[in-house]
Every structure is written in C-alpha cells, then in structure tokens.
Amino acid sequence: MPIRFDGETARFDGACTADEAIPLAEWTEAANAPRVDLGACTSLHTALLQVLMVAHTTVAVEPEDAFLKAWVAPLLRNTPG
C-alpha cells in the first residue's frame, strides 16, 4: 500500500495514485490534526493533493523529492481556510 494510515499520521510511500483519494479523505475527516509523512513519496496524484489542501494537513516529514518539496509541501504547511 503506498499510503499507510498510522493514527494521526499518514505515511506516503512511492507513487501514490488516485485510487487512494477516498480512503485518504475518510481518514483526514476522522483525524483531529492530520499529519503526513511525505519522506518517501515520489509522486503524488492531484486528487490526493486537493484532499490534503482542504483538510489543512500539516507536513510531519518533508518529501525528499525535489519537485514536491519545492512546490507542494509549502501548500500544506500553511494552507489558508
């Protein structure tokens, strides 16, 4: 499984596809302060990104992937309402 839900933290691993969007949305809805570990994420589907943006997810572990680190992670750290 590319995304592992671990209490309040979701750990993304490798290429994460649109198939994960519904489980991710359900998990973020249930979590109080959802955090994501993007350390090992190499590719993030747009569908997943929008869930993370709406859910005000904070980044627990920064992605190592340069593209995600430069342009995507900043959106999650301080997403305005």
Binding site: A18, A21, I22, L24, A25, T28, E29, S43, L44, H45, T46, A47, L48, L49, Q50, V51, M53, V54, A55, F67, A70, W71, V72, L75, P80, G81
Partner: protein, 733 residues
C-alpha cells in the same frame, strides 16, 4: 496611520455589509432605484477609502463592481441572478480581503490577478462582448503580480508562462495535472490554487479536479507547448517578460508647493472666467480674492498681496492681475497613493453618537459637582458650623449620587445594540440556501431594532443562524411536496424579535412540515434517553422538547446546510449559558416555531429570591415559569419520588433543602411554597421554605475554593447588603 487603518477596516466591513443588503434588495426588486443607489454609493465610498492605502487591487476590484452597477443603473444591463451571484462573490472577496488586511496588513499574493478576474467575470455576466479579449489580457496578469522575493529572483527575465486549468473531470481521462507540471522543463515557478474557494472536506469530491496551475518556465514556448499537447483546450501558454519590481515608492518631487501654488493661481483665473448668475459670479469672486490673497501670503509675497487689494475692486483688473501672477509656472505634481502603515487590530464597538454625547455631558456634570468639594473642605478648615457643613456635604453627595447613577446607566447603554446586527447575515443565508436547495423561501424579519446587550448579541448570533438553517433544511418542504400538501410553493420563514418582561425574545418560525412528535419519541427511546413508558406518557408538547437533547435530530439524512453533530442541543446550551431558555411549538403539516428568551443584559441578572434552611438563594427568573402555595396533600409520593399537578401538568417535585444537602424540618403549615421551573425541555416543581422578592443583581462568578462547588452560578449582593447564592439548577439536579 494605525488608527486610520483600523477605521478603514471598520468602515469597509460596514460598507460591504450595506452593499450586500442592498444587492439582495435589488435582486428581489430590480426596479428598486433606492437599492441600486445605496449599493452604488456603498461601493463608491469603499473605493474612495481603499484609495488611501497601498491596495490598488482592492480599488480595482471595487471599481469593477461599480462599473457593472453603472451599466445597470444606466439601463445597459439588467440585474440577473448570475450578475447578482458575481457581485455577491465580489463582496465576499472584498470581505475576505478586509479580514486578511486586518490580520496581516497586506492583501494576499495574486490579489491583482483576482481583481482582474472578477472584472472579466462581471463583464461576462453583463453580457458584454469584450469579455473574451479582456480574459486574454487578464489571464497572465498574475505574472506582473509576483511576490517581492519571486520578483527579485525572476525580474527582467523572458520566460514562458503557463495557465493550466484542468477540466473538472480530467482525472477520468487519466490526466494527473500535478505530474504533468512536474515535467515542465526548467520550471521556475509553480503556483497551485483552488479554482473556487474550498468547500468543506465533507463536500469535496476528490475526483473532480478543483485546482488550477500557473507556471513559469525558462524553456522556450514551443518546448512547453509540446508537453501540454494532449490538453490544448485546458492550457494557455505565452512568452512574457517578468517586470522588474521597483524597490520602493518614489520620494515626492521637490518644489511641490511652488508648483501647486502656480497651478492654483491659474485655476483662480479660470474660475473668474466661468459664467453664471450675478450672485454666483460674485460668490466665486469673493472666494477667489481670498484664496489668492492667502496663497500670496503663504508664499511670503506680501507686496503682491497688497497689490491684490487694489485690483480686487474691479473684475477686469482682478483678472488681469491674477493672470500676471500665474504666468509661466509649471503644472502641479502628479498625485500618487500613500502606503499604509501596520497597526494592531482589535475588536471595535460602534457607539451611537447621542449616547457618547450623553456620557460626555454627565462627565461634565460630575466635574462641576466635584468642584464643590474643595470649597467644602476649605469651609471645614475655617471652622464652619457642623450643621451648615453637613448640609453642604449632603447636598454635594446627593448631586454626585444622582450623576453616578446616571453614569452607570449611560455606560450600560453604550453596550446596548440593536438586534439588526445578528439579523444581517440572514437574508443572504436564506437566498443562497434556497437557491441551492431548490426551495422557494421568503424571509420576513421584524423587530431588528430591538436592543440587547452586546454580549447577548454575541451569544445569539450562532443559534439564530442555526435555527434558520434548520428551518430551511428540515422545516421547509420541497416545492412539489408543498404543492401536494395544498400549500403555496413559496414558504415563509419569519424571524421576529421583541422585548418582553423577561428580556429579549427571538422567534424563528416556518410554515413547513412541522415536527413529528411520534418520531421524536421513537428516536429518544431508541437512543435510550427515555423509556417506552415515559415516552408514551408524554404530551406532544413535552415530546417536542426532546429535540433539545444531544443527538436527537429528527431528519433522517444530514445535509450540508445543517452540518453534522451540531444540533438543537447546541442552541439550547448557548442560550441557557447566557441565562435564557428555549421554547418550541410545532404542528404537523403547519410548521414549527422556536423561541429564544434571553435576558436583555448579561451584567444584570433578575433573580427570584427564595429561602431555604435559613439562607437566601437566587434562581434566574427566566427559568421560573410560576410559583404558588400547594396544599401538602396535593403532593403525591411514589416510593421516594414526589410529584405534583401544576396547571394540569404532572411535574416531578424536588425539595431545595434536600438538593442542598440540608435536613428537612417538620413544619406545621399545611402548604408548601412551590416554584415551577422550566429548564428548557425539563420542567419540574421545586419546594422552598419561602418566596422572597424578585431582585436585579449583578452576578459575580464564584472564586477561590468556592469555584469548585457545583450547583452555583455565582454570588450576588442584594440592595440591603445581604449575600445571595445564585443557583445553577441544571447542575444542582
């Protein structure tokens, strides 16, 4: 400039609210010229205010709205639902920007592009033909609007700009826009933004793409185009040059006063040449002479000023004289906006000017009264006779007493505001929700001028919104259901406020489906909140009150409007915390009325004073629905539970002594003093030793070790100095 900025925030909010209200009026009645004028004026004033600060995008945004209204006012366009939507969105964006300005002293990044976009959308909604070309121009406006850091990094570079707005259903054709952007060659900048404001998480459909992408690339345009060849309809690509950002505003030009003086003198010459009636011309001439005299004096040209007095007698010589003065001076310097300085934002309380004046007048009286005291002190020192002195002191005391009492009253009144404040969001709520739900709903409001303490208003706001949402959502039936029931398709929600003996009453009623008392009973039993027997024994009116219990929402489905988990119990809690109560009445098929009763002020609590075991206790009168002496033999006892019939209703009977842990004492009286208490959904009878008076008290919360005692709302001191414990019955029971 911080005060000025705060003033702006305050005024901008008011103007946006006023504009919103006028717009709703206008949408209901497009022929309402008053509404369009009010709306226009609000935007116009707002535009002027934004112009004082460094917020050109805001001015632009408001200007766009003003332009659209001008078209409507001049009959070039009609106010459509679409146009109203756009204008409401514009006002919403304005409100969001004001919040942002208050918090961060700056508009969000991309504000200019957002303003341009609204302009374009408005033009489209007006049905203008230039929407397409304007869209082309505006599409890449964001490139000119980069943040300072981005501008410094990219300033002056020729780059390829990408506007990528994926179709909402693009995921189903296998597109992944984010991954596509990853592949943009020499990516310099990527902005990922929601196309529309985010919905709540619950409303988000993850499989509809709600994001758009803006990118700058260092690669050539054809290279970038190649990447996006599979989505040509969703992308716009252009070669652009990033503007170099100026570091700071230019300093004002030197010699401005001289230039301005020259321009002003030329203008005075022009004014003299204007036509008009004799009175008008003479009026202008007087003002011109004085203006010119002052200008010359200010410039230190006293000789010319003296010359002016000689020339002023004759219009011709005056004109010639001023022409001579004004000749050959450079035109006035151009005008540029002023930057706004930061300041700390805080909540402001709008005070009615009359009330402030009254306060000032009282302070003045107090100063006068006080000035008597040094005089009395001197008399005392000089050995004035004691009785004369006493008389003087008494007089001064009487005066000061009455002023202080008035001051107290005046200060309390400062906090009193009309309910219109909490009514304001309702028209918009009803409009948007009825559009969304496909229901036709008329909102009737009355009593907006009713006044209450600011704290009470703050508490009232949320429950009121909730009740109206509830009516929209669950109360009002869809049009076909209403038709089937033989009702008019258009439903009515009435919000009514008025002042009552107990305080402020706010009623929300609808002519919808009403609440099924049987369904409420069933649900309460299912949830184990009452037993089957209890439910069966309940009158319908009592069963309806069960909806105020946690988790007892009657509607099967949960819609987006009423949200999840927040129910009527939240309304009840909020109102009761403020010392009020909630009442409900509903008839199947005819509608529901919910009534909130709140004390008009929270600082003063009106209590019923009762006696128990030799001490005095207070119970908020809002909770007391009756009091009477009941013969002992009318009290029925089953095992340890007692009950009594009051006003044809069987109420459980409790004894205050026992609740307080005091022993019962055998008394000889043949009757008991019984209070009927209404705890909102829970009615009971309470036996006390004796009734005392009603009193208005200032409630002080319990402090120190007492704070841990349960069952008390606080302490208060009665007029004669006796201490009173005010009970929190809900906790006590």
């Amino acid at each position: 400039m911080s005060e000025l900025f705060d003033q702006f925030v305050l005024e901008a909010r008011e103007l946006l609210d006023a504009a919103g209200a006028s717009l709703l009026r206008l949408e209901r009645d497009p022929a309402d010229a008053g509404a369009i004028n009010d709306l226009f004026r609000a935007l116009h004033t707002l535009k002027g205010a934004t112009g004082l600060f460094d917020m050109a995008p805001f001015t632009r945004l408001v200007h766009g709205g003003e332009d659209a209204l001008m078209a409507v006012r001049e009959g070039r366009a009609a106010i459509s639902g679409d146009l109203a939507d756009r204008l409401l969105q514009l006002l919403d964006l304005g409100a969001a920007w004001v919040d942002r300005l208050e918090a961060e002293r700056a508009l969000p990044d991309g504000a200019e592009a957002m303003a341009r976009e609204h302009e374009t959308l408005l033009r489209a909604a007006l049905g203008g033909t230039d929407a397409g070309t304007a869209g082309q121009d505006a599409a890449f406006a964001w490139v000119d609007d980069l943040s300072t850091a981005e501008g410094e990094r990219l300033g002056g570079r020729a780059v390829t700009a990408v506007n990528y707005e994926p179709n909402a259903d693009c995921f189903f054709s296998g597109d992944d826009p984010l991954e596509l952007c990853r592949r943009i060659p020499d990516l310099l900048l990527l902005r990922i933004e929601p196309v529309e404001p985010w919905p709540s998480l619950a409303e988000l459909d993850p499989y509809r793409c709600a994001l758009r992408f803006r990118a700058l690339s260092g690669a050539a345009k054809p290279d970038v185009e190649r990447l996006f060849r599979s989505v040509p309809d969703q992308v716009r690509i252009a070669a652009v040059t990033v503007k170099t950002k100026p570091r700071a505003a230019e300093p004002p030009p030197k010699g401005g006063v001289e230039d301005l003086a020259g321009a002003m003198l030329r203008e005075q010459r022009r004014i003299l040449a204007l036509s008009g009636s004799v009175a008008e011309v003479e009026g202008r001439q007087g003002a011109v002479v004085r203006a010119v005299r002052n200008i010359l004096t200010a410039l230190g040209r006293h000789g010319d000023a003296a010359e002016l007095e000689r020339a002023a007698g004759n219009p011709e010589s005056l004109r010639g004289f001023i022409e001579g003065l004004a000749g050959g001076v450079a035109p006035a310097a151009p005008i540029s906006p002023t930057p706004a300085a930061p300041s700390a934002g805080r909540r402001a309380l709008r005070v009615d000017a009359d009330r402030m004046d009254r306060l000032m007048a009282l302070v003045g009286e107090l100063v006068v009264a006080k000035s008597r005291l040094p005089y009395l002190a001197r008399e005392a020192q000089e050995g004035q006779r004691a009785d004369t002195l006493a008389l003087g002191i008494k007089e001064a005391q009487g005066q000061i007493d009455s002023i202080v009492a008035e001051l107290q009253d005046a200060v309390l009144r400062l906090r009193v505001l009309p309910l219109s404040r909490v009514f304001e969001p309702l028209p918009r709520l009803v409009r948007d929700a009825s559009r969304r739900l496909g229901k036709s709903v008329e909102l009737e409001m009355s009593g907006a001028e009713t006044e209450a303490d600011k704290d009470v208003l703050d508490i009232l706001g949320e429950p009121l919104l909730h009740l109206v949402r509830n009516s929209l959502d669950h109360g009002v039936e869809p049009p076909d259901a209403r038709r089937a029931a033989g009702k008019p398709e258009g439903a009515v929600i009435r919000v009514r406020a008025f002042q009552d003996r107990d305080g402020v009453v706010v009623e929300v009623s609808d002519d919808g489906a009403g609440i099924d008392a049987e369904a409420v009973r069933r649900k309460a039993v299912e949830r184990g909140q009452v037993t089957v027997e209890q439910a069966a024994a309940m009158e319908d009116a009592d069963a309806l009150r069960l909806v105020f219990l946690p988790g007892l929402s009657t509607a099967e489905g949960v819609t987006d409007l009423s949200g999840r988990g927040v129910g009527m119990d939240a309304v009840r809690n909020a109102v009761e915390q403020a010392g009020g109560r909630v009442e409900i009445a509903s008839t199947r098929g005819a509608g529901t009325t919910i009534r909130l009763v709140l004390p008009a002020t929270m600082m003063i609590t009106r209590v019923m004073v009762v006696e128990a075991a030799g001490a005095l206790y207070g119970i908020p009168v809002t909770l007391v629905s009756g009091m009477q002496r009941v013969p002992r033999d009318a009290i029925r006892r089953v095992k340890h539970a007692e009950s009594v019939v009051l006003n044809d209703t069987v109420l459980p009977l409790l004894r205050l002594r026992r609740l307080l842990g005091q022993t019962e004492e055998e008394r000889v009286e043949g009757s008991e003093a019984v209070l009927a208490v209404d705890l909102g959904g829970h009615r009971l009878a309470l036996v006390v030793d004796a009734f005392r008076e009603r009193a208005d008290v200032v409630l002080k919360p319990m402090t120190g070790v007492l704070a841990r005692l349960r069952g008390y709302a606080g302490t208060a001191v009665l007029g004669d100095g006796r201490l009173l414990l005010v009970l929190n019955l809900r906790e006590l029971l």
